[in-house]
């Protein structure tokens, strides 16, 4: 056998190995836990096979999850919030990415640096900083009161609005960077050609720029939506007690209630919710590639 062949196989095997070790294997463990019953023991769930070696699975936690309305509401709210944050990121991120991609090369690298600069500071600290901004006596309320726009401080903290701001702020770079990558690669003559053939500036944007930027839009949306769905820190710091999101529920079930089977089933349902839009988008893209 040729040596190059072996190497090729080793290299293509790496991503599969990675997926197996860090996705499939943990997933299998979580799935196994979700089918157990909680007990007060170490570990806090019943084993899959009892002493006689009989298989013992229980769908109790899934049934509980699906019948309790609270969970449905929490999932729905998480989806809505993550989707809103994704939309906001797209609305803000597209013009930013477009502007960066069309700027002079020297300004471009500075702008890109500014986009990734926040990553140099801990995520936790940056969300914490928003508490200082959104507080009843924080910077924003003080400013508004000082210019006389309001008499009473507005309650920003511990609202959905605060979470939306926090998520949009935190995940905006994940939208801007893939969008920038597709827009930067685009041949500008294409837009000129569309205008030459009778399209207005807006017409050329929707006919040419937008469809060609779509892979970047899809990648950006997934990169924002998926982590925003499972976000824990932002609802914990900005969202307050009653605004439950699925990330917090997950954490609380694991570490406060110590009901590992229920927590695991929450995680699995979350995964299913995430997989559906990804698969839909992938099919959409495949069809896009097929017919012009």
């Amino acid at each position: 056998m040729h040596k190059g062949h072996t190497w090729e196989r080793v290299i293509t095997a790496i991503p599969y190995l990675w997926l197996f070790l860090f996705f499939l294997l943990p997933f299998a463990i979580i799935l196994k836990i979700s089918l157990a019953d909680p007990v007060i023991a170490q570990p806090p769930f019943t084993p899959m096979f009892d002493e006689q070696g009989n298989l013992s699975v229980s769908f109790d936690s899934f049934i509980f999850l699906l019948t309790d309305k609270l969970y449905a509401i929490t999932y729905f709210k998480s989806v809505m919030l993550a989707a809103s944050a994704t939309m906001l990121c797209l609305l803000l991120g597209f013009p930013m990415a477009y502007g960066i991609a069309r700027s002079e090369p020297t300004t471009r690298s500075i702008l890109l640096l500014l986009i990734v600069l926040p990553f140099w500071i801990s995520f936790l600290l940056r969300v914490y900083a928003w508490m200082g901004l959104l507080n009843n006596y924080g910077v924003i309320n003080n400013m508004l009161m000082w210019i006389g726009a309001i008499d009473q401080p507005i309650q920003f903290m511990y609202t959905d609005f605060a979470m939306l701001i926090g998520m949009t702020y935190s995940y905006l770079p994940f939208m801007v960077l893939p969008l920038y990558a597709t827009l930067e690669r685009m041949d500008l003559d294409l837009v000129d050609a569309a205008q030459d053939l009778g399209a207005t500036r807006t017409g050329a944007f929707w006919d040419i720029t937008w469809p060609l930027a779509r892979p970047g839009v899809i990648a950006g949306c997934l990169l924002v939506f998926i982590p925003a769905m499972g976000e824990y820190v932002i609802p914990y710091l900005l969202g307050g007690g009653e605004s439950l999101l699925i990330g917090r529920v997950l954490f609380d079930e694991f570490f406060v209630a110590r009901d590992w089977p229920l927590a695991s089933s929450v995680a699995i349902v979350l995964l299913l919710i995430l997989v559906v839009p990804i698969m839909l988008l992938q099919r959409y893209q495949a069809r896009d590639a097929e017919n012009a």
């Binding site: 003559d189 294409l190 205008q195 053939l197 009778g198 500036r201 469809p211």
Partner: protein
């Protein structure tokens, strides 16, 4: 160089310049083009050809000057308002649309009825011979096929002016020649005014009614191909179009029609026809095209403009022509070409043969000025 203002010119360009920062890409161009002309802009890489075309199409705003098409000042018009279509040097084919949709795009934007779109698309697709590729995506086409898509897409709107930026550069020679004639036919049929940018001088010669030779943002000479070839006004133009032998010299006598020039490179006095005003003692440049020089083994007749001896340094067989490089006794190398009229295995002359070169006074041109 300002041409005489022509009242009925179709395209009128007046004092158009384009600066990119300090850099002057197009420098004070004046030009008149008649309706139905096939006008070629010829020049080296980076001389501003594309920039001039992009200004006509409306993608680039001139720093100064005005442009009129068919009596309408288009200088400040948006690209989609101009009766102009352009074929891009990069082709700029929309990668997410198939061949048919690319070609139909311009008509769709004009809101032409669907059945008429189909009909006209089929017509141009036949014209550029892409019938078998209608449903292909651009990345499944060869370079030449892509070029034809770009041409069809620009043609279909039947603009008043069609701008072509290096339209045939990616085609092989056969297809290029075929497409050249196709272009000329289309131009004849539709009466569209063509402006073709090229850096291929042969293409400019075959295609166009007139040629502008461009260098560093300026037009050096504008005229019919024959005039540009036979009567270049500067050394740059003479050098750029075809091959040419040039000799520096000083005028020793100037008669009514012929002058004599002492050219140290040739070694003998060169007589040349000259209708321009030339004074004795002036420095000029004598230029002779390779095909105007006779090569012979025997000494030529007395009445030639120049007779000079040399040795064959190199020869090349091109099928229809043979090219010779002749080493003169002065050390100067001269290029000569000769038609291969006879079928023969034997060469007319061999390497290191002693030969005579001669040309007539009317074959040599006198170029004044320092360029």
């Amino acid at each position: 160089m300002i041409e005489a203002a022509n009242p009925d010119s179709f395209i009128r360009i007046r004092g158009v310049s384009k600066h990119f920062g300090d850099f002057v890409a197009v420098d004070d161009i004046n030009l008149d083009i008649q309706k139905g002309e096939l006008f070629a802009i010829l020049g080296g890489s980076g001389c501003g050809k594309s920039t001039l075309l992009r200004m006509l199409a409306g993608f680039e705003e001139p720093t100064s000057g005005t442009m009129e098409i068919d009596g309408v000042d288009v200088t400040r018009q948006a690209p989609y308002e101009r009766p102009v279509n352009m074929m891009f040097q990069s082709y700029a084919i929309f990668p997410h649309m198939n061949v048919e949709k690319n070609i139909a795009y311009g008509l769709r934007k004009e809101r032409v009825a669907a059945n008429e779109v189909d009909e006209r698309v089929s017509d141009v697709i036949r014209l550029v011979q892409l019938d078998d590729f209608r449903a292909r995506k651009p990345d499944q086409l060869s370079g030449g096929q892509r070029q034809r898509v770009a041409l069809a897409r620009a043609l279909i709107k039947q603009p008043k002016v069609l701008l072509l930026d290096e339209p045939l550069a990616a085609l092989d020679k056969k297809l290029r020649e075929h497409t050249q004639f196709e272009l000329m036919n289309i131009q004849d049929e539709l009466g569209i005014t063509f402006i073709v940018v090229t850096h291929d001088q042969e293409e400019a010669m075959t295609l166009s009614t007139r040629i502008a030779v461009m260098d560093r943002g300026r037009f050096l000479q504008v005229g019919p191909p024959k005039e540009i070839y036979e009567y270049p006004k500067s050394r740059f133009v003479a050098d750029f179009i075809g091959t040419i032998n040039t000799f520096e010299g000083r005028v020793t006598s100037a008669g009514d029609e012929t002058i004599s020039v002492d050219c140290p490179d040739v070694g003998v006095e060169v007589r040349a026809l000259c209708t321009e005003d030339v004074k004795v003692g002036q420095d000029v440049c004598v230029a002779v095209r390779p095909e105007k020089i006779f090569i012979s083994r025997e000494e030529p007749e007395e009445d030639e403009g120049v007779r000079v001896r040399g040795i064959v340094d190199d020869l090349g067989y091109l099928g229809n022509l043979s090219l010779y490089r002749i080493h003169l006794e002065t050390g100067r190398m001269i290029q000569v070409s000769r038609q291969n009229r006879r079928r023969s295995h034997k060469r007319f002359v061999e390497w290191d043969d002693k030969v005579w070169l001669s040309w007539r006074p009317r074959s040599a041109m006198i170029i004044q000025g320092d360029d």
